[in-house]
């Protein structure tokens, strides 16, 4: 479930149409006003409305320090009257504006790097759809040629923040494949959103047990793509290090290599999978959500140094990303987003390909049309248990040698606490904890016992 949803609100009016008190044009508006006055987080509202809600809550709390008095007052005059009365002696609008730009950003002109895949949707769309501008930032999103380059450019401070694969900030912080530099993840870019694509000639070889000797491509070593593919193969009894060949290949070359019969398949971002289908060279074997529903894929990353030197810019940037991610989570916005991010300046791909990925109604490459609205989904919350899982896989496949303090690393890199604060400020409902257990291919993962989890795998790198 997305953290921006709130389906368990008992007070939500679901059946009645029209407003109960007669002050509002619709029931929805009535409800919003009422919820605002009840000091509840108000979802499904525009930014301005959300801030108004928060400010109104603060004012109400100040006016009625005792909750009993507040409720009595509300009962006697009605929510709408209370709001109107309150606005008269307290300039709610001004206060809202003051809150919205709490602490001017130290640096307004920012550069954010991205890789042109649908995983970067929130980072990219925040530019054309104005989510950065709303936070008073002037952000230039810069397309970057590859994961290693995005790593180097972010480390070199050419970028203030960047789109990275979810395990990359962990790897950079640990000094794997890079200098050890403390990096952070204030938000997850997307969940799900990958798939295993095979060449059309393998359409009758759907059982992974028959895949011995095949060649597969992944985008980068420190990627969920790598860990999920290895996990999937290992669960089917194949040792990914000896039974198949795994190659690091840039995504566009995956499609070309598949066409040229140079590889048998790949686990890649959805739009690359869909592109292979669109071009008639492959079919979708499974979506990555069938391996682990709700898995993180890419992250929004910044160095710790950026946070300490420009905390307000960082907070504004995080707000913009969380906001954009929340917007992207809604199915009704997905078509508009696909159009916004398809031009050459952003992903540079056919709109129909992006639309199929984002709306989840897609051609599977075998002649069928499938529908799965959660094929790619967006939920910004950086669960620290995600980080712990990734660390177990880094250890499992020999990327981390020796011991690792899972919890310490996860908490340093995945900034769940800060994200909670930002989400609460924005009127979203962050989860109470930062760890949750989940299951990957039916095997449940307990973030409190990573070593036991690791020990339970039969296939792993022996070292």
């Amino acid at each position: 479930m997305s953290t921006s949803d709130d389906p368990f609100d008992a007070d939500r009016v679901l059946t009645r149409s029209g407003c109960a008190c007669g002050w509002h044009r619709s029931a929805a508006e009535h409800e919003q006003a009422a919820r605002t006055l009840r000091c509840e987080p108000v979802a499904d509202l525009s930014e301005q409305k959300r801030y108004e809600g928060i400010v109104a809550s603060a004012v109400m709390r100040a006016v009625f320090p005792r909750d009993v008095a507040r409720r009595a007052f509300l009962k006697s005059v009605g929510a709408a009257t209370a709001l109107a009365a309150l606005s008269q002696f307290f300039p709610l609008k001004t206060a809202t504006e003051a809150f919205a730009d709490a602490g001017p950003p130290e640096k307004k002109d920012l550069k954010v790097g991205f890789i042109p895949i649908t995983c970067a949707t929130p980072i990219i769309m925040a530019a054309p759809l104005g989510f950065y501008a709303k936070q008073g930032l002037n952000v230039e999103v810069v397309k970057t040629a590859g994961w290693a380059v995005i790593r180097d450019k972010t480390i070199n401070k050419e970028y203030d923040a960047a789109h990275m694969l979810a395990p990359m900030p962990l790897a950079i912080s640990l000094g794997l494949g890079a200098n050890a530099i403390p990096f952070t993840v204030p938000a997850i870019e997307n969940i799900n959103g990958q798939g295993i694509t095979l060449a059309t000639k393998h359409k009758d070889r759907r059982d992974p047990k028959d895949w011995k000797g095949m060649k597969f491509a992944i985008p980068f070593d420190y990627s969920m793509h790598n860990y999920l593919l290895r996990y999937y193969l290992a669960e089917h009894g194949l040792d990914p290090d000896t039974d198949v060949q795994l190659r690091s290949v840039p995504p566009p070359e995956m499609v070309a290599n598949l066409r040229a019969d140079n590889i048998d398949g790949f686990l890649a971002p959805d739009n690359i999978c869909q592109r292979a289908i669109y071009d008639g060279v492959g079919f979708l074997h499974i979506l990555s959500k069938e391996i682990w529903d709700g898995h993180p894929c890419c992250s929004f990353a910044a160095s710790r140094e950026f946070i300490t030197t420009a905390p307000n810019s960082f907070a504004a940037l995080t707000r913009a990303i969380v906001d954009a991610t929340g917007y992207a989570a809604k199915a009704e916005n997905r078509k508009q987003i696909a159009e916004a991010i398809a031009p050459a300046n952003y992903i540079n791909a056919p709109v129909t390909v992006l639309e199929q990925v984002l709306t989840g109604t897609y051609a599977d490459g075998l002649g069928g049309v499938k529908t799965d609205p959660k094929r790619v989904d967006f939920d910004p919350f950086p669960w620290q248990s995600f980080a712990v899982w990734m660390l177990t896989q880094m250890k499992r496949w020999g990327q981390i040698k020796g011991d690792v303090d899972y919890k310490a690393v996860a908490e340093q890199v995945y900034l769940a606490t800060d994200t909670k604060k930002v989400m609460a400020e924005m009127g979203l409902a962050p989860p109470a904890t930062s760890y949750k257990s989940f299951s990957v291919m039916g095997k449940s993962f307990d973030p409190a016992k990573p070593d036991d989890y690791l020990a339970s795998f039969k296939i792993r790198k022996s070292s």
Binding site: P116, E140, V141, V142, K143, T144, A145, G146, V149, D152, K153, N156, K157, E158, P251, P252, V255, A256, R259, R275, I277, Y278, D279, G280, P343, A344, N345, Y346, N348, A349, P350, T352, Q356, Y362, A363, G367, G368, V369
Partner: protein, 279 residues
Amino acid sequence: MTLSLRLRAAIVSIALLAAFLGAWHLATRSSGTTAAMSPEYARLMGLTATQGKSAMPGPLDVGAKLWEHLKRPFYDNGPNDKGLGIQLAYSIGRVGLGYLIAVVVAIPLGFMIGMSPLISRALDPFIQVLKPISPLAWMPLALYTIKDSSISAIFVIFICSVWPMLLNTAFGVAGVRKEWINVARTLEVGTIRRAFTVILPAAAPTILTGMRISIGIAWLVIVAAEMLVGGTGIGYFVWNEWNNLSITNVIIAILLIGLVGMLLDQVLARFTRMVTFPE
């Protein structure tokens, strides 16, 4: 009636081009036969899958796309989408800057090496080791130490264009006829003046040949360097279109890279002719 050689060559050139374009057109015609699919499914698929269109574009596709680019070469749709003219200007700018730095370093150093057998011997092992290194091998090192991708690209251009210039300058300077230097000595011309009035003009054709080789290499390298770091330039354009699997645009870029490379070479060829002297 006999036609001039030039005219006959032009006719053969055009015939070859026509034959090539014709073969290309025939080879990339769509087959038109594809497996039957439901209309709903077909709507979600690309032309290759639905109409058997070749994955390679034909000459007509390329021509149409090229015309589109030439109509508006300088548009700017934000940091990641600029017209071909702007992209080429960025690349030429980078090559120009890296190349100029190389000229400033290579020619004085080449002079020193050419004039002093001691320095020549002393530097020889370094030059021999550094010369054969592929310019792109420097790229990760440059990114890592310079910490700026556009300066790294310029550095790579510098490092790859410096060697041919250096060696040719040294060779040209060392090869200046001894009689001329001896005459200058007899006339008691100072070292500096001797370098500028006797050696430089005599070695100029060789130096310019080195510069001509260098600009060719620099232009070869910039495309690869820009593909690697991204950002701007014709190499980035190729990468961006490759990312979209738009072979049409990649072919257009290849064509333009060839044309610009030829122009750069012609400019230096003209300079070379200007300084060449009959003996």
